[in-house]
Symmetry: D2
Subunit: 350 residues, 4 copies
């Protein structure tokens, strides 16, 4: 690496994952934000849209068309799905050597059929889909290092994949009976003005959503099946909890003979040396607030009262490790920076 | 019934279930509160302890010893478990004809061995345990009508039992694979000053607790096993969500051949005419806020993407239908009052 | 009154004040809801819009044009300001004997000039404006009893007027130095889908709004000036606190010689016998949660450390006593029902 | 400065200001935490008490007696008031050259009489009280640089002093009519297990506290009087808002002739170049969430509708700029580090 800072463009900077990227990148020692876009808010300053940035110098919000991608090293793409694939195609057409970390769902499913099933239309950039690396650094570190395009995973997906994939790979779980109950805070739904997202519709209550099928299921199926070596379709329900940040999955598993302690040992071994995954002592239960604002994942393993059953708990901050933090982590890998650079903030609690 | 109002004593009025009883009973047309106790706060007025009652005339808080139970028709007992059984024994010794609705756990488990296993000591009032009716009116209405002592169920227990018992009785579910993920608000933990219950330890985050074994499991085992006709031990994890009121259980089931629509039909039939249980149209998902402050239970049934699997959702207000509301409902049955009397408040939302 | 129930129409039933009216009226023994309107949601059931009403029989949502006002006794109007005056004009044209309780701002300001100043356009129903009674029952009970049209006051307005008007009338306060800092919950802003009202923009933080001029100021000016006998323009800032319900005003006053105890005595005397205003013992501080869900106002008076200064605290639930509860109270007066009918719910806490 | 890191002891690390110090210091490039104390939790690890620190190496919690202060460069003291003065005396007896930043109230009031009045007992370390610098860096930077002992101010105090002192110094305000309505989040009350601090007693409501006199008033009196050149006793009420972090003061002022724009200009000039104080454009209103987790203060100035009156709004995070962040800022001054070192985190929003 030369001493020059990497030049960053953030496409879609007016949503929460966009602002979270800016929060992290502004304090990252090896990068410089050179372009921010937000089509509907083009012309405004970032401080107009997110007053917390008022004290800091940042480029104005512009349109995607205004960005000169040949003068950019890394593009973070925080745009809605479907439009994303077209935008990224254009970006690579204009600047084939740029690196792209995509926070949308567009390149997460490697099977075009699965994409079509979950997203309701054929993929429009199949070549790119083929080359995209699935951005869970702890599992696909080598692929990501070599990738030009990284598909940052869904927040529910990362939360469940991180503990379950190593256990399936080890053959320790019955893949037929996995149940993932995944609680999430509100910020994961973004910043669009919808009645169902109003304070009075979210606070002081809780409810499941997308019960008959949430798109992150497609990622669980893909990664669980790959790890198990055969098709796996877990039960999965996302639940909206009245809080801003945090995914908290309680995962119910049955083993193929292993004890809960065995599961704990497998995870402890797998994540030895992983900077951002912390496995709690056996039997301890994590809380989402202990990772809030940080790039950490906390994992807990507890024995059920019936031998051969166990509860695995996984929690992360959906805006950090579940989105923008892992995107920065992926950029670090892609760019050859130290993996933890710019991501060392400790959780804010309370 | 004569025109005279039933005279009520509330033992343990300084906790949240106690104050909720007072809130409901003050507006019940057929009762009169004649005694309130709270040993550690004896001598104070209810308004000192719960300022919302300041405008209303109420007896002072006293000790249990000061209550003349022969001048009381119904005793609500909202005391800690274990001491409760001794107190109720004394109450019946002094006044054998009084009716008791007990909100503690002391008389919920009919098997003395199960009681000892879950509560860690032998039961001290086995005779009373034998005669207690388990207070889920929708299932045990006839037993409750004849009972002198009603054991009001746990809040997690009611939430899961109401939808699952009819399905097990119908033989529609595989009893081996039931998973109950039961989210709760904070008020269920009562009003004791504990660090883990502080605002800053509960808000803006979520976490499971008692993962290796929660006492309400004993009730699930008892009622599920009775309904299934063989021993059932569901997986069950309670999760604390940052809100005051509400239990919200997402229940993962596999059927013995029935479709999800069949499950919905069984529940709709079972609860036809039940004033406090509302089964949503097939596929709809309830929210806890829509029952907050009311005595209602909302049930939803959604098909899983894999045939033979379904998600059942059950929600109620832990302080009302999960505790004090069902206690009043049980009193109505025991006293021959209309079952819905004093319980017709509509949910407060927002 | 005959035994027949009063027939009620609620115009604008799909907002929070509308649903709160329905919550209260469904349990009011002397009324029957015969029409509900919500122009943009016409054709839907109330349960589609507010699932908490699913268990209860209610008319479908329709348009205003579909209502036969000659078959209605009381109209509650919960529509946006400005359109309201035109709607009510039409209602009276069609049915001159109907009673109208208007929850909008359209008829609150008796001076057409003040209306124009605060609302930015000339009033379009000046005759009706003249006959409207200002709906604070505790102050204008007699006018309301005789009125055909009641202008229900703003929520911030009621909160500050109830304690301050009696003190100004008694000549006890310096009218030049009144400061009203009025905290409110989110539900007062209604149910429209705006970015600033999203959970993530409201929770875990606090902020003032409309600092340079909030329309409820017009009501404070009008009522304070009338009470003081000369023009009064208090300082007033509304502040959005992360909660659903509650207005909580801390009011800073200087006296004309009276002590804080004197102020307390004036208020205690003034509200002797008022069912819905509770003056706490001198020096005690109310909390908004102790009136949540009820029609109560709690008032506190505390001496400042400097003689001649005092802090007055007033709190109510913005959706009940601040809107729909006082609207029902006004209907009770207008219809000759007991003033407290249908309004006796005790606060829900927690 | 040599290259060696400054060795830090944190006394009282088991409270929220203690954990916030650890959060900041762990990421401060010029310091190393060598001792953490918490008398009642001595022997535990920091991760036992605050699980968010589990991934990081930290000394075990010990007792104060176990600390060798001669091997320490800076002591942060986050202990209860009154005991603090005795502890710090001992620290300086053992190690006269150590630097102490005290987060308690013990050394904030320079007048022993005022201390006795507000804290109810004579001060026990008058010599130290004399030498202590009052730790608002933006006002007392030079004194702090030279100090051995810095008295970190109260959170309400900093919030009001930062905007008001420059205006009083400029002679722009009538000192007789200042009203400070200061909303605070819960974390300012610390982590003690008290009933009034439970989630269910704090969420979904708001209330004033210490209305008849809060100790931070003593600091306002001291600093306002010094700035005005004559005794000033503002009206001040703290209000608990249901959120974790943030102080939000709405301050009502009358000028001595200046316009609101003049006030804005004075503040803009005063804070030119201040890294942590951001004055918003005239008329704009800050929100507490935009400084959450950061060391920033946001100030807003809005004209009242009556000339000669204005509303000043000041907000900061009570745990950062209101406590541990300003403590680190003071340490930076005392140690000759760059003032912003370790404090450059951007607000976490949402």
């Amino acid at each position: 690496m030369s001493d020059a800072k990497a030049r960053i463009a953030v496409l879609g900077a007016s949503g929460y994952t966009g602002s979270e990227l800016v929060r992290l990148l502004l304090r990252h020692p090896r990068v410089e934000i050179v372009a921010l876009t937000a089509d509907r808010k083009a012309g405004q300053s970032m401080a107009d849209v997110f007053p917390q940035f008022a004290p800091f110098p940042l480029p104005k919000l512009g349109t995607i068309d205004e960005v000169d991608f040949t003068a950019v090293d890394v593009v973070f793409c925080a745009l809605p799905h479907a439009t994303t694939q077209l935008v990224i195609k254009k970006v690579f057409d204009a600047a084939p050597n740029v690196k792209v970390v995509d926070l949308s769902a567009d390149f997460r499913l490697s099977d075009p059929g699965a994409y079509e099933e979950w997203y309701g239309h054929p993929h429009q950039a199949l070549d790119l889909q083929k080359e995209a690396a699935y951005g869970i650094a702890e599992i696909y570190r080598d692929e990501i290092r070599k990738a030009r395009l990284v598909a940052n995973p869904g927040c529910h997906s990362s939360t469940a994949i991180l503990p379950i994939v190593p256990l399936l790979e080890a053959g320790a779980l019955d893949p037929e009976t996995i149940v993932v109950d995944s609680k999430t805070g509100m910020s994961g739904a973004g910043r669009s003005a919808k009645e169902a997202m109003l304070f009075s519709e979210v606070s002081e209550g809780i409810h499941a959503y997308a019960v008959s099928g949430h798109r992150h299921m497609g990622e669980l199926d893909q990664e669980f099946s790959k790890a198990a070596g055969r098709p796996v379709k877990p039960m999965f329900v996302p639940v909206l909890s009245p809080m801003n940040r945090g995914i908290y999955a309680t995962i119910y598993v049955r083993t193929t003979g292993a004890t809960a302690e065995d599961l704990h040992r497998i995870l402890t071994d797998f994540y030895k040396g992983a900077a951002f995954v912390h496995v709690l002592p056996f039997g301890q239960v994590p809380q989402s607030r202990h990772v809030r604002g940080s790039n950490m994942v906390f994992l807990g393993v507890v024995a059920d009262r019936v031998p051969g059953r166990a509860i695995i708990i996984s929690t992360l901050d959906n805006l950090v490790k579940g989105a923008s933090g892992s995107a920065v982590q992926n950029m670090n890998l892609v760019m050859g920076f130290p993996e933890t650079e710019g991501l060392e903030q400790i959780a804010l609690m309370p």
